[in-house]
């Protein structure tokens, strides 16, 4: 009886051992398969990353091409409106390093490029048409620079400040110029656009507050006196030397925030009122009123902060 039991036990153990070995084999096979799969996944991810990068680069190229289309570069003032869609896409697709590198490149091109010597007249002056063409090309580059800076996403601007200004980056000076470009563009964009008309819809008001908020952030930074831009290299046009704060500490009318915020605050009662919701629309008056109240509080807070200063 005891022998039988031992035999059965040994047989069972052998069977279990065989099964275990088989299971081990299977596990090993599975591990190998998993490893192979992981490797393939990594390859796929690398492939996706490469595709994503290609798509991103494609977006950069296309958005830049869009900005430079003939019809978008004809009228550059007050702001190059035609460049805005392209600049927005460029700002979304570009990395923060690319944004400041591009600023560096554009500034260098504007400041350094000169016509060919063969374009000079006998008296040594450049031909008038050459001067006009060169200055226009330089103004296109300048418009590109400030439109991209103005339309860049807020989080990327914050990152540029962290990396290049606080972090002592390679392009610190260009980062200041980028911020100056942003202030100039948004100040002009608001002055000649949204703030030159009644702020009589919730979205107009929201747009004004968002854009003014972007300028406000820059003008309150500890390094605010360094925010400036000096663009030379025009053949006939005056150099563009501009700083966020004048030497006496005053602000240009285009970005005089205390004054602009007060103007916006007045517009709540004067233009926006209860939101000008068209009767029968799906918007709830209660929701609109709540949104208006919230926006008004934001504006009042901005005004108070300037008063505390």
């Amino acid at each position: 009886m005891k022998t039988n039991f031992t035999f059965i036990l040994l047989a069972s153990l052998t069977l279990i051992a065989c099964k275990a070995e088989k299971a081990m084999d299977n596990t090993n096979k599975m591990l190998k398969t998993t490893e192979a799969m992981n490797s393939k996944m990594e390859q796929t991810n690398a492939g996706i990353e490469s595709t994503n990068e290609s798509v991103r680069l494609q977006k950069l190229i296309l958005s830049k091409d869009d900005m430079l289309k003939d019809e978008n570069t004809r009228n550059l003032e007050p702001v190059a409106l035609g460049m805005i869609p392209g600049a927005k896409k460029f700002g979304e697709a570009a990395t923060t390093t690319e944004l400041v590198e591009f600023t560096y490149l554009l500034l260098k091109e504007i400041n350094d490029q000169k016509p060919d010597e063969s374009d000079r007249l006998e008296n040594g002056e450049y031909k008038p048409e050459v001067i006009a063409a060169y200055d226009h090309i330089k103004m296109i580059k300048f418009s590109e620079l400030i439109t991209i800076a103005g339309m860049a996403p807020e989080e990327k601007v914050d990152q540029i400040i962290q990396e290049q200004i606080y972090g002592g980056g390679l392009y610190q000076e260009e980062a200041y110029a980028f911020l100056m470009g942003r202030v100039m563009f948004l100040g002009t964009y608001l002055d000649s656009g949204i703030l030159s008309r009644p702020l009589n819809t919730v979205e107009r008001m929201n747009e004004a507050i968002t854009r003014l908020g972007s300028i406000d952030n820059i003008l309150k930074m500890p390094f605010k006196n360094e925010v400036k831009m000096n663009v030379t290299g025009f053949l006939k046009r005056d150099a563009i030397a501009v700083s966020a704060y004048a030497e006496d500490g005053t602000l240009d009318a285009l970005w005089n925030m205390p004054k602009l915020w007060k103007k916006v605050l007045k517009a709540f009662d004067r233009d926006l009122k209860d939101g000008n919701i068209v009767r029968g629309s799906s918007s709830s008056q209660k929701e609109v009123s709540a949104k208006i109240a919230s926006m008004k509080r934001r504006v009042e807070a901005y005004i108070k902060l300037w008063e505390i200063k």
């Binding site: 003032e77 008309r197 009644p198 103007k263």
Partner: protein, 216 residues
């Protein structure tokens, strides 16, 4: 003699730019291609007022890195001798005028909303209540007047009425006239846009030009 007189009258009328209730006599000077008048005649219910030009200048607006030319402004009053050519005294001296006019010749198209907001900003800069009925009615006339068209003229003229009120005639660039009746302060308030506290650098420069006067 009669013939000469007729010819003289005909010549005079060729020099006159007729604009609704107000007629301007051309002068010899131009600003950005716009002829600056020598005098004007305003006809309203309670009489005809002869006015002299007291100043003219170019209104520019800073956009980005350049100044854009917006309009040429000319100011006329019926009692030019009583006009005070100082930064602080100019608006107050409009009290001495029974009639006056501002003539704006636009050098580019400007949307109605933009004209209205720019006037409103100027009222704000001068602490003028835009809810005051006369000012509100004036701003409505600006809105209703539509876009200011380039190369056309917008006229704002006023006359003080016997009851102490002020009649303002707003003539848009299409020639449509809107009359606004307001209190005694309405004329000074409107003139403050150009002669009062400037709302921006472009208006500050224009004010200096207007105060300087003009030599024909």
């Amino acid at each position: 003699m009669k013939l000469l007189s007729l010819i003289g009258t005909a010549l005079l009328f060729t020099q006159v730019a007729v604009a609704g209730v107000i007629k301007y006599e051309d002068g010899t000077r131009t600003i950005n291609g716009v002829s600056v008048g020598r005098s004007a005649e305003l006809s309203v219910d309670n009489g005809v007022y002869h006015m002299d030009v007291i100043g003219a200048g170019l209104r520019t607006k800073k956009v980005l890195v350049a100044n854009v030319n917006v309009y040429v402004a000319q100011v006329y009053v019926d009692n030019a001798g009583a006009f005070v050519r100082t930064a602080d005294g100019a608006v107050k001296s409009i009290d001495n005028m029974k009639a006056g006019a501002i003539r704006l010749t636009f050098l580019r198209d400007v949307e109605a909303d933009k004209v209205k907001v720019s006037f409103r900003d100027a009222f704000d800069a001068n602490d003028i209540n835009t809810d005051e009925p006369g000012i509100a009615a004036f701003l409505n006339a600006v809105s209703d007047g539509g876009d200011a068209e380039g190369n056309k003229t917008l006229n704002i003229s006023f006359a003080r009425l016997d009851d102490g009120s002020v009649r303002v005639i707003y003539e848009d660039t299409k020639g449509k006239e809107t009359t606004v009746i307001g209190n005694a302060a309405l004329a000074n308030s409107i003139f403050a846009i150009w002669l009062g506290e400037p709302a921006d650098a472009g208006l500050a420069t224009l004010k200096k030009e207007l105060l300087k006067g003009i030599t024909q």
